[in-house]
Amino acid sequence: MSQEPNTYSALGEVGAVSEKRSLWQRLMLDLRKAPMTARFGMIVILGYIILAVFAPILSPYGEAEVFPEPYAAWSAEHVFGTDQIGRDIFSRMIFGARNTVGIAVATTLLAFIIGGSLGLAAAINQSWLDQFLSRAVDVLMAIPSLIFALVLLSIFGSTVTNLILIIAVLDSTRVFRLTRAVSLNVVVMDYVEAARLRGEGLWWIMRREILPNIMPPLIAEFGLRFCFVFLTIAALSFLGVGIQPPTADWGSMVRENASLIMFAQYDIKAGLTPLLPAAAIALLTVAINFVVDWFLHKTSGLRDEQ
């Protein structure tokens, strides 16, 4: 057998070796293949981020700077006019990106940290901890979250910290359910059992064995959850319990200028003014969903047949 050309060698066995590319190269390759919608979404999100980060530089006036003329019409001086007490709407739109998006990001992150870690722990533990957390989450989810948030905000007061904490906790229930569900599929894998047999702790198993394998659905959920949080904040602001004046945010801007819509018959631009912040919200939501859709499609393993 020794001189046989067909003798077996483990080294010679061919596995599927994919080309080695750096993370950057792979990213560029993916981006080049991304569909138009995803590219559009990414450009929009990038624009919002730039606006939010450089708000003080980009805006012509300050966030709470009051000018003598309230409800000014659109002009070279005030691109979108001024609001009911004479603040420049264009500037407030730019600052609104910072406040609304910033708070939404912080809230979503917090919701994921709380919901994700508890969901993972519940999936791994699968005993009293799982029961306790799951039932607690059921109770929280049984109450309509907007009404619950309203109640809590009226009890604790509408500060930015309270807003973030309350929405994060309420939203973490959804994140918990998702994380627990996808983790349950991974927890039964032999490699998790192998890690347990090795004697690894809960934290290691969560972070190193399970988390990397459930990232795709979580990232997709992050995008969607971000939209919901964003809308919740805008809705709360519209109802007057969200971000408090003079801080600019799109939700309260819609409410403050809502009456302008009645003047649309005299000046179409005046009618548009309250819709601008609403459009900003809508555009970001759409953009994020485009990117999330693409990401989901990419990681779901669905392949376009030929």
Binding site: L11, V14, S18, M189, R198, E200, E305
Partner: protein, 544 residues
């Protein structure tokens, strides 16, 4: 089986068939110009490793390609019409009518929401071959021919209410119902236990003979194909290696590759004299919930030897492993390791106790985190148990890779970039990294091709030699036991039926169950199944 030669006219002729598959954004050749001729009433065995293209070829014989595959050349002449040129709807007239298919996993192929009889007859009734009543009564007759219990009523059951072997036979009945000219069997017994396999094989063979149906039988198990086929074709990398009549092929294979396939079964380990006991289980009872799965299990494992635990699925082999590892604390009984009692629960065992007992899993795919590189997978136990870091760890990982006959080029690979055999080797390296004394191998070779299996078994034997390891080797495959074990424990329904040195257990007289198990292991003799069936019938006759 009598050595049938040509039984009739040519039914199927494949000429220069080429099939490509799409993966990694490229088209790859899967079948590279294969010729095949099948006569009426003839059974052709297709064998080869995974990736040899045998399933693709088997499906192509019906004019079907899996999604992501395409036929790029050649002809498939079935009774005069070229299936490669026909449209989907024209081919549908053949499918489920003149040609049928029996899939590997019957359990996954049946719809759990419909009764077996309806599923058996559905396609025959739909293509208007037989009216409903006739189809139903014929299906019941076929159930009887296939030796299914209570043929008149078994069809009223749902798929989960019958066993895997019975389901596989129902599927054969479904394939046989329209009295096709051609049946393609795609590894129909691979997922079954040996004792069940025998029953399914003999009923399949009987029915193919009775109706003089031509069949293509795809398998990677030589001994099985020897029982079923008149002609054997060996495939490798999408090309034909050789084709010959079964007897001819078994006694005198021409090609080196075929010979190497044949030689795998010849591996046999010389027996090691038992030394002091490393691990002993005494009176172990264990249960899942309220269902008791282990009854008074006593097993002694001598240091430096291999104890093989054999039995069918559900016999408690894997549960025994879970008790030893501490994943499933036993209800009663004790485990002694190195003379000390081992705590029941994993969490009560010390890090050192955990280190000394390592486990290798059946499915290497799921035993490794797909997001970790080989470096991380092997490196973690080094860091965790032995506190190695940095260069020292790296050097040790490379050393371990050499030990399993791989090299440093594998360090940055992910499990998805390894072949099945390489994956299992990395799992072995991970177990070795902990410097264990005792390694539990749970069906480590059963998911692998024969040649790769041989490589893994040789590696395990060599490592045992070099490192003085002790193995508990769980398997249902008797030829693997012959290859690797010193001692054998036979388990059935949670009890130890027999245990002792390999030579003693494999020598008669046997307890009844061992006898059944051993005699059910297919041998490389084309007459084996015929003789076995006759013996069992006679024995049954004598008993009555």
């Amino acid at each position: 089986m009598s050595n049938k030669t040509k039984k009739g006219d040519v039914l199927l002729e494949i000429k220069g068939l080429k099939i490509q598959g799409f993966s990694d954004e490229k088209w790859h050749d899967i079948v590279k110009g294969v010729d095949l001729t099948l006569h009426r009433g003839e059974v052709l065995g297709l064998i080869g490793e995974s990736g040899a293209g045998k399933s693709t070829l088997g499906l192509a014989a019906m004019g079907y390609t899996q999604p992501g595959c395409r036929i790029t050349g050649g002809e498939i002449l079935f009774d005069g019409s070229d299936l490669a040129r026909l449209s989907e709807s024209e081919k549908r007239a053949f499918w489920g009518n003149r040609m049928t298919y029996v899939a590997q996993s019957a359990a996954a192929s049946f719809n759990p929401a419909h009764r077996l009889l309806d599923q058996t007859t559905a396609s025959t009734i739909r293509s208007k071959i037989k009216p409903r009543a006739e189809a139903h009564s014929d299906a019941k007759t076929l159930y009887g021919v296939l030796n299914l219990p209570d043929p008149n009523h078994i069809g009223d059951r749902y798929p989960h209410q019958v066993s895997g072997g019975q389901l596989q036979r129902v599927m054969t009945a479904m394939a046989m119902l329209p009295r096709p000219d051609l049946i393609v069997f795609d590894e129909p017994t691979t997922a079954l236990d040996v004792t069940t396999q025998v029953e399914v094989l003999s009923s399949m063979r009987a029915i193919v003979e009775e109706f003089n149906t031509a069949a293509i039988y795809i398998t990677h198990d030589l001994a099985v194909v020897a029982q079923m086929a008149d002609v054997i074709k060996v495939l490798r990398y999408g090309e034909e290696v050789e084709e010959a009549g079964t007897r001819m092929m078994l006694s005198d294979p021409k090609e080196a590759y075929t010979k190497s396939l044949w030689s795998v079964r010849a591996l046999e380990k010389p027996i090691q004299k038992p030394s002091d006991t490393l691990l002993s289980l005494k009176g172990i009872d264990a249960s899942y919930g309220t269902i008791k799965v282990l009854h008074q299990v006593d097993i002694d494992v001598p240091r430096g030897s291999t104890v093989a635990v054999v039995g069918e699925s559900g016999s408690g082999k894997s549960t025994t492993a879970r008790v030893i590892t501490g994943l499933l604390p036993q209800l009663a009984g004790s485990i002694e390791f190195n003379g000390e009692a081992l705590p029941k629960k994993l969490s009560e065992r010390s890090k050192d106790q955990k280190r000394r007992i390592q486990m290798i899993y059946q499915m290497a795919d799921t035993a490794m985190n797909p997001r970790q590189t080989v470096r991380d997978i092997i490196g973690r136990p080094l860091e965790f148990y032995l506190g190695m870091r940095g260069e020292k760890k790296e050097a040790r990982i490379v050393e371990l890779l050499k030990m399993i006959e791989l090299d440093a080029s594998f360090l940055a690979r992910l499990p998805g970039e390894l072949s099945g055999g390489q994956k299992q080797r990395i799992c072995i390296a991970r177990a070795l990294a902990a410097e264990p004394e005792f390694v539990i191998c749970d069906e480590v070779t059963s998911a692998l091709d024969q040649i790769v299996q041989e490589g893994i078994l040789k590696l395990l034997l060599r490592l045992q030699d070099e490192l003085g390891l002790t193995y508990l080797f769980i398997t249902h495959d008797i030829s693997t036991v012959k290859a690797i074990a010193d001692q054998v424990v036979v388990m059935n329904q949670g009890e130890v039926v027999e245990q002792g040195l390999k030579t003693d257990v494999f020598q008669p007289p046997h307890p009844e169950y061992t006898n059944l198990l051993l005699s059910s292991v297919p041998e490389m003799d084309p007459d084996w199944l015929t003789n076995l069936t006759r013996h069992r019938l006679e024995a049954a006759g004598n008993a009555v």
